[in-house]
Each structure stands twice: as C-alpha cells, then as structure tokens.
C-alpha cells in the first residue's frame, strides 16, 4: 500500500476526468481542422474545453491558447515576447520554476540582459528591490509566479502588476502550481500573460495553456498549420484538452472543499513536524498554498529522507521533481538565504486527491521512526 504525497510534482488524474476523455480516446477521432462531421465535433469539444479553462481563471475563452504543457507555455511567453533583437531588459523572479529560468537563460545567451528579482527570507518577492530594478532600466517583460512549487509561498502578483505596468513593462505570471489549489483570477491579478498546466490540477499531462491579453504582440514558438490563432501550430491534443477542460471545471466547482481538506491535512502534519528536533518550516511565516509543506532538518540529507520514506511506501520529494537526484540545495531555498546545512535537508510534502487523515498519521509516524533510528545509530557510533 503506497501513500502519494507528491501532488505538486504531478497529480493523479481525477477518474471523472478520465471519463470525460474516454469518448475522445475511443471512437470520436476527428481532427478539429477537418471540415467533415467528425472534424466539426472535435472543433466543438475543443471550444467548450477552452470555455471551461477560461472560467476557472475568470478569463474570456478567446484569451486561452492551448499548448503542450506548462513548460512550453512559459517558453512561448518569454521567447514569444522577447523574440528578435533585445529592446529592453527581462526581469525574472529568483524563485521561478525552471520552465521560466530555462528560457530566460537562453535569452541571456542570445544577448538579452536578464536580471533577477530577489526574495525575502520567506521567499516573497522584494517589492522595493523590484521598484529599483524597474526604475534603473528600460524593462520589457517581468516574470513572477503566483505560487512557488517548492515552498508553496504565494506572491502578491497584483502589487507586482501595478509596479510593472507603471514602468510600461509587461507581466507574465506562472500560475501552474496555483490553479486548482487557490483562487486564480486573471483580471484581478493584472498580469498580461499567465500560464497554466493541466496535470497540476488532476488533468492529463502534456497539456497546458497560456491565458493572455490579446493586445500583446507574441511570436509563436512552434510554426505550422496555424492552429490556436496562429500562436501554436500542430494538430490539437483533443483528449488531453477535453480532460483539461473537465479538470478545470471540477476544480472551479470544488475549490473551497479541496482547499479546506488539504489545509486540514497539511496543518495537522505541520504540527507534528514542528515537534521534530532541528526542524524549520520554509515560508512558514508567509501565505502559502494550503496543500504544501516544505521543511528542513538541520544536518540531514533531504534525498536520504526521501528514500527512507520511499522504503516505507510513502512518496514525497525534496523539492522540484525536475531537479531530483542532483544533491544540490535548490535555487529557491538558496535565494531565500537559507544555509546549505538546512537547505540540503529539505523535504516537500504536497497533499491532494485521495489523501486522508490516516496518511498524515502514517507519515508523521514514519518521520518519527526514521529520526529516532538515526539518533540511536549516531549515539552508537559516538557522534
């Protein structure tokens, strides 16, 4: 029997989403670009999914562009806005996901000047530092996430948007980890561009979306065929898009109940974790996603702890799945100014679909056992 507590890495598909996808996996196989009847049915399904995704974030369907995932959507934004010759600077948050930092580094190699927005010790973007960066240079685009994937910390995107717009720049908000876990309202956030991923909200992997103000001049990343209003070529992944639509609709309907449930579990575990010796909860003093708990234990290797829990059938991670196994403290924790001794001991637990109170007891018990066993061993070797 295994316990899955790594929902920020990927969330299992909701069975109701699979049910919605099934007709598109069997039988209804039109290409939405074909003019014949199966093609038209596919086109209708595509558009109703677009409306469902738009509704989740309070946007207009015409503002939604489907992509092959969150990483592609982030690349589309950064490279799409910054295509061609550098004509301004790019600011990216220091704790952004690699899907943002990766293209930012590629743009830096292509000649763009890229600056990082620092964070405070809780992982929140430093608005004063942002003001200074915006005042010093002519900035074209700023990329700031809504919820951090490791710590779960929530950024004040609306406040960032005001500053960015006052400076005449565009704001991109990576809301991949936030959507479905906390309310996300595109107009209220004030971002010009926002990225989403289906699999973080119990939809299928391989589908994402860009939500955008259509006045932004964006160059496509993938050319050919002219799908998605010319912004993203390629035959649409219809089953995936329909699944994304259903997952978004369910998240929209059930957001309050989901949030309350995962927060109850997270808070219960956090109370247990705080009893462990040498523990520190990351972003513990800031507003966070209700499902996420990341902490460090002084002098401990987080990867080792992940494997110890894995032996007991409990799936968690030390941080981002994309960096699993590297053994280095994450860029997020480093940017927060955490000493390597504690940052290397990071463990991330993220709740979601299917988790119950007994999972909390099981992981609390396992952590206690592991720590007691370790203390005993260390005493035996005379440390």
């Amino acid at each position: 029997m295994s316990i899955y507590l790594d929902h920020n890495a990927t969330a299992p598909l909701d069975p109701r989403v699979l049910e919605a996808m099934q007709p598109w996996l069997a039988g209804m196989h039109g290409n939405p670009s074909s003019v014949h009847r199966p093609g038209r049915a596919a086109h209708d399904a595509l558009e109703s999914a677009r409306a469902q995704v738009a509704a989740l974030v309070d946007a207009q369907p015409a503002q939604v562009v489907f992509t092959g995932g969150g990483t592609e959507a982030d690349n589309l934004v950064l490279k799409g806005v910054c295509a061609g010759r550098p004509d301004g600077k790019l600011l990216v948050g220091a704790v952004e996901h690699s899907a943002v930092l990766g293209p930012a580094e590629a743009l830096a190699e292509a000649g763009w000047e890229v600056r990082r927005i620092p964070v405070d010790s809780e992982g929140r973007y430093d608005l004063k530092a942002l003001d200074a960066l915006l005042a010093a240079d002519s900035v074209k685009l700023v990329s700031a996430m809504l919820a951090n994937n490791e710590t779960g910390v929530l950024q004040d995107v609306a406040a960032i948007a005001k500053r960015v717009h006052a400076a005449g720049a565009l704001l991109q908000c990576d809301a991949v980890q936030a959507a479905g876990k906390t309310p996300v309202e595109f107009p209220a956030l004030g971002a010009d561009l926002m990225t989403l991923s289906a699999h973080k909200l119990n939809g299928p992997r391989g589908v994402g979306a860009l939500v955008m103000d259509r006045r932004v001049d964006l160059k496509p990343l993938i050319h050919g065929g002219g799908q998605e209003q010319g912004l993203r070529g390629g035959t649409e992944n219809l089953a995936g898009i329909v699944g994304f639509g259903k997952a978004a609709a369910l998240a929209n309907e059930e957001l309050k109940a989901r949030t309350a449930h995962s927060q109850e579990l997270r808070d219960a575990l956090e109370a247990e974790v705080r009893k462990l010796p040498g523990v520190r909860v990351f972003s513990g003093g800031a507003e966070r996603l209700p499902n996420t708990l990341q902490f460090g234990i002084e002098g401990l290797d987080g990867e080792w702890l992940v494997m110890e829990l894995d032996k007991r059938g409990i799936a968690v991670s030390s941080g981002s799945a994309c960096h699993s196994g590297s053994g280095e403290p994450s860029h997020v924790l480093t940017a927060m100014g955490l000493e390597p001794a504690i940052a290397k001991g990071a463990l991330r637990i993220s709740f979601g679909l299917g988790n119950t109170g007994s999972d909390v007891s099981a992981v609390a018990k396992a952590l206690h056992e592991i720590m007691t066993g370790r203390a005993r061993k260390m005493a035996a070797v005379g440390w």
């Binding site: 899955y4 790594d6 890495a9 990927t10 299992p12 598909l13 909701d14 699979l18 996996l25 069997a26 039988g27 196989h29 039109g30 290409n31 670009s33 074909s34 003019v35 014949h36 009847r37 199966p38 093609g39 049915a41 092959g68 995932g69 969150g70 990483t71 592609e72 982030d74 690349n75 690699s98 899907a99 990766g102 293209p103 590629a106 299928p204 992997r205 391989g206 589908v207 990343l221 993938i222 050319h223 050919g224 065929g225 070529g233 390629g234 035959t235 649409e236 992944n237 089953a239 995936g240 992940v306 829990l309 894995d310 059938g313 799936a315 991670s317 799945a321 994309c322 960096h323 699993s324």
Partner: protein, 386 residues
C-alpha cells in the same frame, strides 16, 4: 451525433486510437495506475520512468534506431520545428543555406519560412509531375554552406515516397544534415535508420493509431547531431526538450508503434489491395486522374482529380464519407492545394481533387460504398454543371 455511421477515409488526417493503445493509456493516468512523474525518485516515479523507457525502446525498434536517439515531443509539428530551427540555429555559423521543397507539410514550410526571416537562404525545390523530389535536383542544390536538407518521406496529400536513401547519401557526402518528416510513413512502410543517411526524423503518434499531442524526434548519435532546444527548462530529454513527460501519451505512442510494426507486412498488402479496389471502382468516372507516382507511394492513400466539378461541392455532396480535399491543416482556407499546384495541376483540377486515405479499420464494404456514393454524386454534379 452519429459519428459511427460515417465511412471514415481520412486516416492521413488523423487515425482513431487502437483500443489496445487506449487501454494502455488509461492504465497510466489515475491513482490506481502508473501515474507519477517519471522525474520523481520515489517508487511511483521509478515505475513511470520504466514505462517511459519501455515505450522509447518500442519506438526505436520500429525504425531500427537506438532508444537514446529518440526525443519525445508534443507532436510531429514540434518535432519538425525542433529539428529545423534547432539545427539551423545551432549551425548558423557554419552556413545559412537550407534545401527543402514546395510541397512539404505546413509544419516544415512554416518553420523554414521563419528561418528565412532570420536571414537563412532557402532553396525551394520543385517536385516532378509525379510528386517526387529527384535526388539529382538535391545534388544540384547543395552548396558548401548548406547546413540542412529537409524533405518529407511520404507526402501527406499524395502518398508519394521520396528516395530518402539516395538523398541522404548526397547530403552526407556534402557534410549537410538531413532531416526527414516521416509523420505519414512511419508504421506504414519499413524504415531502417541504420541503413539510411538520415540525421533527424520526425514522428507523430496520431497518424499510427496513437494519441494526438504526442510525437518524437530521432536525433542521430553517430555522427552526433546537435540542436538548439526550442523549449528550455528542467533539462528533460537530454536537454533537448524540457517539460514533464506525459507518461500516458508516451506509452500510447510506444504501444501504437509496436502494433504498427507487428501488423505492417499484412497491412501493407491489405491496404494496397483496398486502394486498388477503390481506384478500379472509380474508373466509371470519365477522365479521372491519379495524382502522384503510380507505384512509389504509401499503400493507403489515393489522391484523384475529377474533371468538370468542384472538389469542395463534391466533398459536401458526399456527406457521410469523411475524406478531404487536401490536408486537414489547410481545410479551412479553401485555396486549391499547394501540393497539387506544385506538381503542375491547374487551379481547376487542383480544386477538384479528393484525398482518400485508408487505414486499419477500413473494409472492402466501405470501399464499395464510397465508390458508389462518389460516383453517384459526381454524375449528379457533372449533369448540373453541364
């Protein structure tokens, strides 16, 4: 909506999922299946990684490549973009000349046009009347600064098959990278990458009874081909394509390619016979013209021109028969096909052409019904036109 009553003959636009593929995908999605992130180190993550690597092996096996030469993408369009832009941008200091043809798929045409805007010099080869690009034409186009030749294996509208073995030898001898869009041909006819001088090859899952939104790019290791990635991030797929791997999509493609390999010899024979039956049946229409080479082509595609009627009218008159007047990607723009004009058909004939594409679930009864429907509607429209 009774999609099932329709005779589907548009397998070149997209294919239905094979039920075995759908079952495999469904087992890799929910909490009771293999659902985790393949990049995660825990047990569910390792199970997902194993499923992904098994699929990579199946895909490599179909085309006789090494599993480490397969990079997963979101589809053939992305594969084409990654291959063409990625190679050209990586090698731009070595040269800025690219050779392609006028009848490539939009995914290739649009990627190459983008490079033209980035000041690459493009040679647009013209096919012969049979739809083939002659190796000799490629030889003449090659220059010392040619960094890339990109040509399709099977044309999506005509089904004609280019001689990629001969073209590859010429490109290799010139030190030029050769990219082949094999979205239409992989799984339909044999491809042996150990025997071909092909450096990059694009694949689509949904043309072979696999899922939409899933593709792969073959990137040769010896001699090594380097690409500038299109999508940067977590460094997945050896740094060539970042983004969380969609396990269900990947295992779906793996199963689709495994099945295609298993069924290929029998399907080639069966589909060739069905296509001949269709062609023979349509002979009742006077002046009917075959588009593309008569033999050097895929078993499942038949593209014909109907003199004296409008293709679009014929298409609508044949409600109940799902075929297309060209490629699905161009269906909305109503222009006569650039492929047919490219092989020398005039606007009238190019506009009066239909592509029938047969596949795994096509039957003789369907072919006979299609012949009857098209013949009847043709006669009606021809009488009206007269």
């Amino acid at each position: 909506m009774s999609v099932n009553k329709i005779i589907y003959m548009d397998y070149a636009a997209t294919t239905p999922l094979d039920p075995k593929v759908a079952a495999k995908m469904a087992a890799h999605l929910t909490l009771d299946g293999v659902f985790a992130n393949p990049a995660s180190v825990h047990a569910p993550g390792r199970a997902a990684r194993a499923a992904v690597e098994e699929a990579r092996h199946e895909i490599a096996a179909l085309v006789n490549a090494e599993p480490s030469e397969i990079v997963f993408t979101s589809g053939a369009t992305e594969s084409d973009n990654l291959a063409i832009k990625g190679l050209a941008r990586f090698r731009k200091d070595k040269g800025r000349h690219i050779v392609t043809s006028r009848i490539e798929h939009k995914a290739v045409l649009d990627a190459v046009k983008q490079l033209e805007k980035e000041s690459f010099d493009i040679t647009w080869l013209k096919p012969g009347a049979d739809g083939l690009i002659q190796p000799e034409a490629v030889r003449q186009a090659l220059r010392p600064d040619t960094v890339l030749v990109t040509l399709m294996h099977a044309n999506n509208e005509l089904g004609t098959l280019n001689d990629i073995a001969a073209i590859g030898r010429l490109a290799r001898a010139n030190g030029t990278t050769f990219h082949v869009d094999a979205a239409q041909s992989a799984g339909k006819v044999p491809i042996d990458l150990k025997q071909l001088d092909v450096d990059l090859m694009s694949f689509a899952a949904h043309k072979v009874y696999g899922p939409k939104g899933m593709g792969a790019l073959y990137v040769r290791r010896e001699p090594r081909v380097n690409l500038e990635p299109l999508i940067h991030g977590g460094g997945h797929e050896q740094g060539m394509r970042s983004g969380t791997l969609a396990t269900h999509q990947i295992v779906g493609m793996g199963e689709a390619f495994r099945l295609a390999g298993e069924l290929m010899p029998a399907e080639m024979e069966r589909l060739t016979a069905l296509r001949e039956r269709l062609w023979t049946g349509l002979q009742a229409i006077p002046g009917l013209l075959l588009n593309g080479h008569p033999t050097q082509r895929l078993p499942g595609i038949l593209n014909v021109s109907f003199p004296g009627v409008e293709g679009e009218s014929l298409l609508y008159a044949c409600e109940g028969l799902a075929i297309s007047s060209g490629s699905a990607c161009n269906a909305a723009d109503r222009e006569p096909s650039y492929v047919l004009r490219g092989i020398g058909r005039d606007d009238q004939l190019a506009g009066a052409s239909l592509r029938f594409s047969l596949g795994r679930f096509s039957t003789e009864a369907e072919v006979d019904a299609a012949v009857q429907l098209v013949t009847t509607q043709y006669r009606r429209l021809a009488a009206l036109a007269a």
